[in-house]
C-alpha cells in the first residue's frame, strides 16, 4: 500500500485565487514529482525534486511553483488560478537511485471557474 497522500481530492475555485495542493509521503523517498494529467493525454511532468531544498521544472511549462522544505512534504502552489489550470494533478515519489518504482497519490482534480 502506497503511503503518499494528496489533499484536497477535489477543488473548485474562482479565477484569481491562490491555491496550494498538498502532497505528503511517509516512505522517506528522496525523489518527488508533480504530474499534470488531462483526459486522453499523457502524464506531463511539471516539477520534480531530488531532495530537501532541491526543486526543478519539468517538461511541461507550468505557472505553478513548488517547495521542498521537508523530505516528506512537496506542496504545489498557484498564485493566481485561471481556467487554463483546470486539470488533474498527481504527486509521486520514488527512491533516489535509478528508475525505481514511483508511488502515486490519488490526485487532486482542480477546477477553476
Amino acid at each position: 500500500e502506497a503511503d503518499i497522500y494528496q489533499t484536497p481530492r477535489y477543488l473548485v475555485i474562482g479565477t484569481g485565487k491562490k491555491i496550494t495542493l498538498e502532497c505528503s509521503q511517509t516512505m522517506g523517498h528522496d525523489k518527488m514529482y508533480w504530474y499534470q494529467q488531462d483526459p486522453g493525454m499523457e502524464l506531463h511532468l511539471i516539477h520534480y525534486s531530488y531532495g530537501v531544498n532541491s526543486t526543478e521544472k519539468g517538461d511541461l511549462s507550468s505557472e505553478s511553483t513548488v517547495s521542498r522544505i521537508r523530505t516528506e512534504h512537496f506542496p504545489l502552489t498557484l498564485e493566481s488560478a485561471r481556467p487554463s489550470h483546470t486539470s488533474q494533478y498527481l504527486c509521486a515519489s520514488s527512491e533516489g537511485q535509478g528508475w525505481a518504482e514511483a508511488f502515486f497519490g490519488q490526485g487532486t482534480r482542480l477546477t477553476v471557474v
Binding site: A2, I4, G40, E42, L43, L45, A92, W99, E101, Q106
Partner: protein, 116 residues
Amino acid sequence: AQSVTQPDIHITVSEGASLELRCNYSYGATPYLFWYVQSPGQGLQLLLKYFSGDTLVQGIKGFEAEFKRSQSSFNLRKPSVHWSDAAEYFCAVGAVSDTGFQKLVFGTGTRLLVSP
C-alpha cells in the same frame, strides 16, 4: 527524444477473455519499460517493469508483458480478464532529461472496459 505510443484509446473485452494492450516506444539504447494501472479515482500503481534479462516479465494481478526489441514493443497481456481489471493502463519508458534527471515518459493510456 524518448516517446511512448499506445495506439488503442480504449478496448472492450469480455470477462474471462484474454487481453493484449499495445505499447511502442522510441528510445536509442536499451529501454527501461513500465506498465502502470490507474483505477477510477485512484493514483497509478506499478504492474510490472523491464530493465534487462528475460524478455517476458511477470507482474502483479496476473499480468505479464513481453519486450520485443525488433518491434520496439512492450505489450501487456493477461490470459483471463476479470471485471475488476477495468481501468486505465499506462505504458512508460525511463528517460533522462537535459539536466540528467531520470524520469518516466508516459503514453496516453488505454482505457479497458470489461463486459459481462
